[in-house]
């Protein structure tokens, strides 16, 4: 026979799981997963773990360094840094995940349409090119400025610049898969366009989307921090890693921990997510596998 193909294709979930075991990827993604889980647990259960009310000010204990009472010291208003940091992590993670989810959903829908309908493609892709031509942080600042600094508007501001990247990726997958004989067979069998789009084409975009999704979460967390740092983010009533660090900027000499510790958590979080994303990409895309020497 002429055509030879690799045999069984395991379901996506199984491939992902096997990909994250230390045996197949080496130790780095494994450690990353554990660290990320630790950060997530710390932030999810922050109301119970927190040693103080993260909003309670105590003018007498401003800018204290680490002590038995305040694990990581206090900020300029005497609020407990540790409690603020883990609660702030919750907001940061929620914003990251929500922004990634919104960007994926919008991007997948627009990408499916652009990839499948040739007339829509020309218009949509030019709009996407225009979006990509603008620096994403400027778009985000402009959007927050327009809508006020609420969590919702920050999520939207982070989402919009990410959408074109997702659209491009989905479109390229659709362009290849739509030529597959099974898609043409479905057309011949009288399947409607939505059925072809969502049942035949959509599942093929899942693997690259999972990978892209992890990168978007990481970059969204960073963008949120950056927005807060630039003063265009959520007000300090709701702590996030970004605005804790922004506030700490002036007092860096007195208590460097205010910038250091949220920064460390942020770095661990983003690095872990990126490492996991890399491992998922290597596992889901056979072309990225290292070739046998």
């Amino acid at each position: 026979m002429v055509i030879e193909r690799p045999a069984a294709e395991k379901p996506l979930s199984l491939r992902l799981l096997s990909q994250l075991s230390p045996a197949s990827t080496g130790i780095a993604p494994f450690i990353a997963t554990i660290l990320l889980l630790a950060v997530i647990l710390l932030t999810v259960f922050s109301p119970w773990i927190a040693t103080h009310d993260p909003l309670a000010m105590d003018p007498l204990k401003r800018l204290q360094s680490a002590s038995g009472e305040h694990l990581l010291g206090t900020d300029a208003y005497g609020r407990d840094l540790f409690s603020r940091m883990i609660l702030g992590g919750r907001t940061s993670l929620v914003i990251g995940i929500a922004a990634a989810a919104t960007a994926l959903i919008l991007g997948v829908l627009i990408g499916l349409i652009a990839g499948y309908f040739r007339t829509a493609d020309a218009i949509i892709m030019r709009a996407m090119d225009a979006l990509m031509a603008m620096p994403s942080i400027l778009i985000a600042i402009a959007l927050v400025a327009l809508n006020g600094p609420s969590i919702g508007s920050v999520i939207m501001a982070i989402t919009v610049p990410e959408v074109p990247r997702v659209v491009r990726l989905v479109r390229s997958v659709v362009l290849t898969v739509r030529e597959e004989p099974y898609v043409e067979a479905a057309l011949a069998l009288g399947s409607s366009t939505p059925k072809i789009l969502f049942q035949h084409l959509l599942p093929n975009t899942m693997a690259p989307m999972i990978v892209q999704g992890t990168y978007i979460i990481a970059s969204a967390i960073l963008t949120e921090a950056l927005l807060s740092f630039l003063g265009a983010g959520i007000s300090t009533e709701i702590p996030t890693w970004g605005n804790i660090m922004a506030e700490g900027r002036q007092y860096f000499r007195l208590n460097p921990g205010i910038i250091l510790w949220p920064g460390v958590l942020l770095t661990i979080c983003v690095l872990s997510i990126n490492l996991i994303g890399d491992a998922a990409r290597d596992g889901l895309d056979p072309r990225m596998k290292k070739r046998e020497a």
Binding site: M1, V2, I3, E4, R5, A7, A8, E9, E180, P181, Y182, E184, A185, A186, L187, A188, L189, G190, S191, S192, T193, K195, H200, P203, E292, A293
Partner: protein, 551 residues
């Protein structure tokens, strides 16, 4: 043209493989090769024949020392080239010996050549690595071998990139590269499988000519019995990692001893058309009138280019009849199929389905017509959605037309019986089936809607001969039961001879000959049809009857 009957008993043995055992590394599976032994003498051609997975390619890769490391390893046996055991040679020495002592050509010349380097320098690279000739000498030698493989205008081709050459020319470059250092052994792994028949014939005679000139021993790997009859001095038939039959070509083709070899020969479709069937006086279910598709490109102001992918195709197809569309790659046969299926919109002519012109219907107008027209594609690995169960694939069509799920599943079960698959196949996924089984499932899916016309686009081309025979039988059976009309698109005249009532021969987008299968194959009128029939490998031999074909 007859079978070869040259005697090589006096010639020195070039390659001797004995008791070669190859295993899958770090897994406890039965060996891939279970003690393979054969030899090749100077100037001789030995064919390794077998179906996919029989171990032909593993044998050749083991000989070249190119088994994928960490995946397969040689466990025992001996591979002796001119008396020296290649299994004892270090990998650095082996590197040196490839090209100088043994060389290999592959199936797909496009992927074997580097697309960003000109072909001349690619051949020269072999000389750079293995000789100490001067620049001018090297170039002269390269041009000389390019002339020997009958490339036209060698100076120009020397400076061409692979994509600027045809498939046949690329394969000639590969042969030139393999033979430039006059190796003692040439391994050819399905070197003509990706080529059209007329090109295939040229490459086969080129290999024979080069072999004669240089006295090369050739190990030729193929799945095509026709090619074997054409070039082999001796044949080794492989199955499941063993050589089940070996002997001079005439002996194997006339009096095969092993059951499997006989079965393989029986499965080769004959070039003699099957007896013609009575044409029923029915009205045609499908008719094409002057059908054509022209691709127009070019910008608003720029120069417009037109490519006529097909034009002037006219035929009638009655229920229960099979029309074959035969041609080489680029002849436009698939364009015709896609136009009829309305996967593309034709630019000229009419397509009458039950008397209604469907050539320019919109997709919503087309929907009610689609159930009458179904299609089976070439590649069984891509024609079923890998993420869907067989049940979901089979019921997709009926559910689109509002058939209740229970009725659709009942019909699917009935068809599974006809295609000889168990009922529990419904719950399984495509990757759990072999290529032949998948192709039968694809056929079942196409007939779920009880269509009037089935378009089979190279539907058996990717299958092994024995599986091919089963699929052809299935189509025949379905046609007798349901009276379905079939349009069978193929490049293989043997298959066309076995299944078609009428044949339409296409070349460069145009129909050059049209008529009953018997007439076209026995008494071809057009020069191109004659060339096509003349190039069919092994056309002088009737494999199932084990004797030469008397025309």
């Amino acid at each position: 043209m007859t079978l070869r009957s040259r005697d090589f008993s006096d010639a020195p043995v070039v390659l001797e493989i004995s008791d070669l055992v190859v295993r899958v590394s770090d897994r406890d599976l039965p060996p891939v090769l279970k003690g393979v032994s054969f030899d090749i003498r100077r100037g001789e051609t030995v064919c390794l024949v077998g179906e996919s997975g029989s171990g032909k390619s593993v044998t050749s890769l083991a000989t070249m020392g190119l088994l994928p490391r960490n995946a397969l390893h040689v466990e025992g046996g001996r591979i002796a080239l001119n008396g020296q055991n290649l299994l004892d040679v270090s990998s650095a020495q082996m590197k040196q010996r490839r090209a100088t002592d043994l060389a290999m050509i592959f199936q797909e010349p496009m992927t074997a050549l580097n697309p960003v380097l000109k072909v001349g320098p690619q051949i020269t690279e072999v000389l750079d690595l293995h000789t100490k000739l001067g620049r001018a000498e090297k170039k002269a030698k390269v041009l000389d071998i390019m002339r020997q493989v009958h490339l036209p205008d060698v100076e120009r081709i020397y400076d061409s990139f692979p994509h600027q050459l045809s498939g046949g020319q690329r394969q000639r470059i590969m042969i030139a590269m393999a033979l430039i250092l006059e190796p003692a052994l040439l391994i050819a792994d399905e070197p003509t499988t990706a080529l059209d028949v007329t090109t295939q014939q040229q490459i086969l005679s080129l290999i024979a000519e080069m072999q004669q000139r240089h006295g090369t021993a050739v190990l030729f790997i193929t799945h095509d019995m026709g090619v074997v009859a054409e070039i082999a001095d001796r044949v080794c038939v492989m199955r499941q990692g063993e050589i089940v039959e070996t002997g001079p070509i005439r002996q194997v083709l006339e009096t095969p001893r092993h059951d499997y070899a006989s079965k393989l020969l029986d499965a080769v479709p004959s070039l003699v058309p099957r007896p013609s069937r009575q044409a029923p006086p029915a009205t045609p279910v499908l008719a094409a009138q002057n059908l054509g598709k022209t691709y127009r490109s070019g910008s608003f102001l720029g120069k417009k280019t037109e490519v006529r992918a097909s034009h002037g195709v006219t035929f009638d197809l009655s229920p229960g009849r099979t029309l074959g569309i035969v041609g080489e790659s680029g002849s436009g046969k698939t364009t015709v199929a896609r136009s009829i299926m309305r996967l593309i919109e034709p630019t000229d002519g009419r397509i009458l389905l039950d008397g209604d012109d469907i050539a320019h219907l919109t997709s919503s107008q087309m929907k009610p017509k689609r159930r009458k027209l179904q299609v089976v594609f070439q590649d069984p690995y891509r024609s079923l959605n890998p993420r869907w169960t067989i049940a979901r694939s089979l019921t997709e069509g009926p559910l689109n037309y509002g058939v209740p799920y229970d009725t659709a599943i009942a019909e699917a079960k009935r068809l599974l019986k006809i295609i000889s698959l168990p009922e529990d196949a419904l719950r399984r996924y495509p990757h759990q089936f072999s290529g032949g089984q998948r192709q039968r499932i694809a056929i079942a899916r196409a007939v779920m809607l009880k269509p009037e016309v089935l378009v089979a686009d190279e539907a058996v081309s990717a299958l092994d001969v024995s599986v091919q025979a089963q699929v052809l039988d299935l189509l025949d059976e379905l046609q007798r039961q349901t009276g379905i009309a079939i349009i069978f698109i193929t490049h293989d005249l043997r298959v066309a001879a076995q299944i078609c009532d009428e044949v339409l021969v296409m070349q460069r987008g145009a129909v050059v000959e049209q008529g009953s299968a018997e007439r076209v194959l026995h008494d071809p009128q057009h020069e191109y049809t004659r060339a096509l029939i003349g190039a069919a490998p092994g056309r002088f031999w009737d494999f199932a009857a084990r004797k030469p074909l008397v025309a």
